[in-house]
Amino acid sequence: MSLNNIIEIEGLHKSYPNHKALDDINLSIEEGKVFGLLGPNGAGKTTLIRIINQILQPDEGIVKFNGEILSRKHSQSIGYLPEERGLYKKMKVGEQALYLAQLKGMSKKEAKEKLNYWFKKLGASDWWNKKIEDLSKGMAQKIQFITTVLHNPKVLILDEPLSGLDPVNSLLIKNEILALKKNKTSIILSTHDMNSVEEICDEVAIINNSKKILQGSIPEIKESYNENLWTVKYKGTQMSFINAVWGGWEMINNESINDHTNQAEIKLLNDFTINNFIKGLIDHVEILEINKKSPSINDVFIKATSDE
């Protein structure tokens, strides 16, 4: 075990009467990092999150929190924003936030002080005596976010935290997540929003059909899915470009920018290097720009889950 791992999962199995939700999952989540938990719908992410939150018990395997076997005492160190979320509609905002904070082990006094700070920060100070049913969906989600982070959890589990939010509120919450990241809060982020993953996450794991199929840092994963794709912007005809170099590459796409300028997307095969390609090309067309095309997390996700 690495000393820096806040959560370690070893050999986790979980089955429901009609299907297997998790099959031998091993994961380690480094302290102070944002960990993206990705996977298609029904892959087993929510089951895994529920096991970390002790809502469900695994059939086999162990979960360690900060080196200790996960137990009820750790629930106070975890903040959880579930995908299926909501609050008591008839209860007043302040009263409800206090209740949820106390359930996470805070004293009433401490909770009140922190709530005042967060309500002010997210512009919710006037909502204290309103009922949840009188708030908009976005406002209610802000309250829910506050109640999740209020007790300064060591681990924050956010399941689709931005879904249902308008662009303004989405940016607001995203910035708060980034601020928490800066403060070294360990965050498990489960989302289908791949842009957010690239923006926020340090490391990701992809679960598909109840198995972990991939884990690593964003650059590592991108590199492992690198297909040696390049974009070449050039002046000259497409025919000249194609005939310049024989073998060792293939054209994926060619786009005409104007009468004399094109942009080609190429894939280098086997050991054929970009230098070899440029050497052949340079006498036939004028090279304006060459860039290596790195796969996005979205590309990696699609490739990884469709390969399975």
Binding site: P82, R85, L103
Partner: protein
């Protein structure tokens, strides 16, 4: 405050602060008092007076059939036959009943008198008519057989049977005490369903607004379920205490002013009705005697203690099951299929109450008061009828409470299994096979 205490407190305070709770705290006793008044009013009968047309074929009854203001008799004309008189009766709106006394009625015991009605007469009226006809026939036969009327009166008896327990002379006429038991049983029935349904609604609310997942990330599903049951149970106890206090205050302040004759011994004893009662030996009036009986003959301390124990036992038993039902569905409309099997035992218990009162020592009474799904209702009726040899033994009560507690623990354990799976199962209407799978897993 620990987390369980916190949840109990939330469940309790959010409910007792509701306007409906405050309203029901005062409306409930009003409804109870109103119900008592309504029952008293209805038991008197709707009709103040009956106009009765009598067809006396023998012409022997006119001088001996007792007439009264309330049951006013008038004689059908002699020149009309029975079918013509029926037509007169149908047309005359003032006439309520037509009594037909066939010619041989007075002489033989095989004939039957007939009473035709437009609106069915009360059982009291039927008994009165039967009584005065029998009385008239007896008087005729006394005179016909030349028996001295004072001799006849001395022979004529109206004896009430005083049924007394040989071991405990205080236990007498225990069937009458059952009325108090029935009232308590009705309260138990109403409170168990009222508050266990609240538990079910609370579970559905937490499930549909999705907050349950956040709560059970801090406490276990079993703790949440138990805290909810305890919190709502405390609301029930609070409501009952308020009802008891308010009803008591209303009973001693409002009731005597509305129906003073029911509470005044002097007026009661002199009333015409009470003398009429002598001729209606089976009619029990909610009179002063009844009040005396209620105050002195019922073992109130036992009633209160066992009411609390059986209410709580029954409530815990049913609310655990209701919580499981709430967890299995997404909306209240889907609960019907699961609620029916739960309501049947309690309704069955209420329907069997009559047979239990009739013979409180029977094996039917014993089993219904031991089976935990019916015992809260039946046992309280048997307790009201007297603890001891007459109705129920103390060991039977202890066994019943023990079985109730064991079953409560078992059903709560089973319910918590369904509950823990059900609260996380969204968007699918659970079937019985789903519940079975959840229990097995």
């Amino acid at each position: 405050m620990n987390k369980i205490g916190l949840i109990i407190s939330r469940e309790y305070t959010t409910r007792v602060r509701k306007k409906t709770f405050i309203l029901m705290s005062f409306l409930g006793p009003l409804l109870i008092v109103g119900f008592i008044l309504l029952t008293a009013y209805l038991s008197k009968g709707n009709k103040e007076k009956y106009e009765i047309l009598v067809v006396d074929e023998s012409h022997l009854f006119d001088s001996i059939l007792r007439n009264s203001k309330k049951y006013h008799l008038q004689w059908a004309p002699n020149d009309k036959n029975y079918s013509q008189i029926q037509e007169i009766f149908k047309k005359d709106e003032k006439l309520d009943l037509l009594v037909y006394l066939p010619v041989n009625l007075i002489k033989t015991n095989s004939m039957t008198a007939k009473c035709l009605y437009k609106e069915i007469p009360s059982t009291g009226a039927q008994k009165h008519l039967s009584s005065i006809i029998n009385e008239a026939i007896e008087l005729y036969r006394v005179s016909y057989n030349k028996i001295d009327i004072s001799t006849y009166k001395s022979i004529k008896t109206r004896i009430n049977l005083d049924v007394v327990d040989v071991e405990n002379k205080a236990n007498r006429n225990i069937q009458r005490k059952a009325f108090v038991g029935i009232a308590f049983a009705m309260f138990i029935y109403a409170f168990i369903f009222l508050y266990s349904v609240q538990v079910m609604r609370g579970v559905i609310e937490e499930k549909t607004n999705r907050i349950v997942e956040i709560i059970i990330s801090s406490v276990s599903t079993f703790q949440l379920m138990m805290a909810k049951i305890i919190g709502v149970g405390l609301v029930g106890i609070t409501q009952f205490i308020i009802w008891a206090i308010v009803t008591f205050i209303m009973s001693i302040t409002i009731l005597p002013t509305i129906i003073p004759n029911k509470y005044s011994p002097s007026i009661q004893m002199n009333s015409e009705e009470s003398t009429d009662l002598l001729n209606q030996s089976l009619n029990i009036d909610p009179s002063n005697e009844t009040l005396q009986f209620i105050i002195h003959d019922i073992q109130w301390s036992y009633m209160v203690i066992f009411f609390a124990l059986f209410f709580l036992g029954g409530y815990f038993l049913y609310s655990g099951l209701m919580a499981a039902i709430g967890a299995a569905v997404d909306e209240e409309a889907d609960t019907q299929q699961f609620l029916l099997p739960l309501t049947i035992p309690m309704v069955f218990a209420l329907t069997m109450a009559g047979k239990v009162i009739d013979d409180p020592s029977s094996s039917l009474a014993f089993w219904l008061s031991e089976i935990p799904f019916t015992s809260p209702i039946i046992m309280i009726i048997r307790i009201a009828m007297g603890i001891g040899d007459s109705s129920v033994e103390i060991w039977e009560i202890a066994l019943s409470l023990f079985l109730l507690a064991i079953t409560f623990i078992a059903t709560t354990w089973l319910s918590s299994k369904i509950y823990s799976k059900g609260v996380l199962s969204y968007g699918k209407k659970a079937s019985y096979s789903d519940l079975f799978k959840w229990l097995k897993s």
